[in-house]
């Protein structure tokens, strides 16, 4: 029961983008850690995301 709720909450966070930074870190560790360097910090990541997300058609009638 608790596990189901926890999974639902995780999905809800993913749906809303609340966990975007955590997902970015996971992705970075998996794919880019080997190249060296450091991942973006939370603030820089959020700024970069927002700039990227609003480049194209985002909302419809």
């Amino acid at each position: 029961m608790i596990a189901t709720l926890r999974r639902a909450w995780a999905h809800f966070r993913e749906l809303t983008g609340d966990d975007a930074y955590e997902r970015y870190l996971a992705h970075w560790r998996l794919h880019h850690a080997a190249e060296g360097g450091v991942p973006l910090d939370r603030t820089a990541f959020v700024r970069e995301e927002q700039r990227r997300k609003w480049e194209g058609v985002r909302r419809c009638c």
Partner: protein, 695 residues
């Protein structure tokens, strides 16, 4: 989702189940279609819609996925091949569905059905259901499919690749034009909802500082904490609804928020410009989060309320206005019901989303069916609910709210007499009581659909959730509509600005630099001036600007759908699937017929409320003969010019769509007869390496 369930069930059981859905759906459709003279349970609308979508999804979309598009689960998607953890990222199908639905579902499916209810509930409801299952869902699905097979390219790029430079240019200009008209008409809807209503105006105004506050919170205090920011924002928005009531009761404060329509239009224009040039994080992004949450929450609440309450639909199945004399907008049921309801049945705009962010997120090609077809079925369901909300009002009240003063008369006594004479009894006392229940000064001539939808929603909510605070529910509904209409205004202005910068960049390279501030100011200014012009003159149009702007919007939106279907048909023909070309070809033929007839009537109809040119000529004749009063005579030259401008735009849409049709036929013919044409731009097959378990 259904296919896997069906596979799990033993075959006979599954057949019995689907036969039951067919029987139930037929029964529900019969209940709403054959009813004459009595009120119908709203439940039948819901049942008919759900059965039809389930059947369409289970059988037609399965056929499309397997036979027509031959979706290949072993083929790597752009998300997998270009996975950069950002734009391209394999994502859980339910999450993509959520994002896609949030992006496609705007105010369109709420407003169109509300306006089209003037024909009675039947034409609009049938078009929403059939149009979605055979047209809209197919369009979204095929646009998504084409884009996934082309590295997630946009509709404009695909049109250029498959149809050549003419097709590409037409698509780009079409998108710009539809943006301008769309924003103008949506702005008009908000303005009409706020007109001389301190409660609505102050609540809507409060959404701006609330969004800014959340923007600052998510930028500086808690970066990226979307849920925290949204939760605070939603609480503040609800407080703003109550606060608006308090301001409305306050003798001095209420005068600060009491404006007529032209003044409000200027404010919306100023606001639109500010939103376009301010940084995104400050206003646009937080407003978008808030509006998405409110939108989905309210739609779910409305569905639950309709199911609990099962209200009676009071509107007749058909009204006499199918002959084109309707007060809300002029024009016969054919073609105008198909133009008025674009979003919810088939909406060309979706092809931009389906070829924008969504194809870059799909983990597996097979998901295109659930997301493309499924999300549109869901939006169509929203349109059915809007139709129900409009039709549960007493028809007399519905017409009193939605008819412009220029048609029924500005004086309440005259207006109710006119409307009652049509066979829809309503009294001035009834309207006054309703307005006072809703906390408004008057509800006469509140054109645009938002107020009548809000009255419908308020009565459904207040009876379903055992609450008698009608006025609070009403202003909650207005706030909810205004919130995401203004989000569309902001986001649309921004997109149109990018396109204009791109376009002007070809002439003046400096203007093409999207973040160069002078270019941002100039291009945003031009875009805002474009829609602001139509918006402002929509507010002073005596026939109510909706009468001329909404059909223009519908024609433009259907034209965009025609562009997407042209591209899709060309792709099917070129990839050797000409025997299935009817899948996109038939909706295309239907749309082109409907838009062409509608555009022709808007241009040349002798009916003054339909034909732009005859209205202009009539006004010009009146002006010349001196039969106009002073105020009207002063306005007349501007109105005449606007009519001719609207006519020119309509002609432009008509020509555009036909140029594209000719190009499509030419390319398809060339492809079939083995002559030279742009080759199929599909990316070669790459096998997927994502394990099933990872998805």
């Amino acid at each position: 989702m259904t296919s896997t369930t069906a596979r799990r069930l033993p075959r006979p059981l599954s057949m019995i189940g689907w036969s039951a859905v067919i029987v139930l759906g037929t029964f529900a459709l019969a209940a709403i279609a054959l009813n004459r003279g009595e009120s119908v349970d709203a439940m039948w609308f819901i049942v008919a819609a759900v059965c039809l979508y389930a059947l369409g999804y289970r059988f037609y979309s399965a056929f499309l996925a397997a036979k027509v598009f031959a979706l290949d689960p072993t083929r790597a998607t752009p998300a997998e091949r270009f996975n950069d953890g950002r734009d391209f990222m394999p994502t859980n199908r339910w999450i993509v569905f959520g994002h896609h639905f949030a992006a496609i579902a705007g105010p369109g499916p709420l407003i169109g059905p509300t306006l089209a209810a003037q024909f009675g509930y039947l034409p609009g409801t049938l078009w929403i259901l059939i149009g979605a299952v055979l047209g809209g869902c197919v369009q979204d699905f095929v646009a998504l499919f084409c884009s996934i097979r082309r590295d997630g390219r946009s509709l404009g790029q695909m049109a250029r690749d498959e149809l050549g430079p003419i097709g590409g240019a037409v698509a780009l200009i079409g998108v710009m034009a539809i943006m301008i008209i769309l924003i103008a008409v949506l702005g008009l809807v908000v303005v009409n909802a706020m007109r001389n209503s301190p409660w609505a105006t102050s609540t809507v105004a409060a959404t701006i500082p609330i969004a800014v506050l959340i923007g600052l919170f998510m930028r500086h205090l808690r970066p990226g904490r979307v849920l925290e920011g949204t939760a605070i924002g939603v609480v503040l928005l609800l407080a703003a609804v109550f606060g608006g009531g308090w301001i409305d009761d306050h003798p001095t404060l209420r005068t600060w928020f009491d404006y007529d329509a032209p003044a409000l239009a200027l404010m919306v224009i100023l606001y639109g410009f500010a939103a376009a040039v301010l940084p995104v994080w400050l206003l646009l992004a937080p407003r978008d989060y808030l509006s998405t949450f409110m939108k989905i929450g309210t739609i779910v609440a409305l569905a639950i309320a309709i199911i609990i309450l099962n209200p009676q639909v009071q509107m007749p199945a058909l009204t006499q206005f199918i002959d084109g004399t309707g007060p809300i907008f002029g024009g016969n049921v054919f073609p105008f019901v198909f133009i008025t309801i674009a979003c919810g049945a088939i909406s060309g705009f979706h092809s931009l989303i389906a070829s924008g962010t969504t194809p870059k997120l799909l983990a597996n090609e097979r998901d295109a069916r659930f997301i493309g077809y499924g999300a549109m079925a869901m939006e169509s369901f929203v349109a059915v609910m809007a139709m129900v909300a409009a039709c549960v009002l007493e028809p007399g009240i519905y017409f009193a709210i939605n008819s412009p003063a220029g048609v029924v008369g500005a004086d309440p006594a005259v207006a109710v007499a006119t409307i009652s004479s049509w066979g829809f009894p309503v009294t001035a006392d009834q309207m006054a009581a309703l307005a006072s229940d809703m906390g408004e000064g008057t509800l006469f001539a509140r054109t645009g659909g938002a107020p009548s939808l809000a009255v419908g929603m308020a009565s459904i909510f207040s009876s379903a959730f055992g609450n008698t605070l009608l006025s609070v529910w009403y202003h909650f509904a207005i706030m909810f509509e205004a919130l995401f209409i203004l989000t569309t205004v902001d986001a649309g202005t921004r997109v149109a600005r990018f396109m204009l910068q791109d376009l002007l960049g070809n002439v003046v390279p400096a203007l093409g630099r999207t973040s160069w501030y002078p270019s941002v100011l100039i291009c945003s200014g031009l875009v805002v001036a474009g829609w602001g012009y139509f918006l402002y003159f929509g507010t002073i149009d005596p026939l109510g600007g909706i009468n001329s702007l909404w059909p223009l919007f519908g024609i433009a939106n259907q034209m965009l759908a025609a562009i997407a279907l042209c591209v899709a048909t060309t792709v099917l023909v070129k990839s050797g699937r000409v025997r299935f070309a009817w899948v996109t070809g038939l909706p295309l033929v239907w749309l082109v017929t409907v838009t062409s007839v509608a555009a022709w009537e808007k241009l040349f109809s002798p009916d003054l409320r339909v034909g732009f040119l005859s209205h202009a000529n009539d006004l010009a004749a009146q002006l010349a003969s001196g039969s106009l009063a002073d105020a009207a005579a002063a306005q007349a030259p501007r109105l005449i010019f606007n009519d001719r401008l609207d006519a020119a735009l309509t002609l432009f849409f008509l020509v555009t769509v036909w140029v594209l049709i000719v190009e499509t036929v030419r390319i398809c013919h060339a492809a079939l007869s083995g002559r030279r044409c742009p080759p199929l731009a599909e990316t070669p097959y790459v096998p997927t390496r994502l394990a099933e378990a990872e998805r």
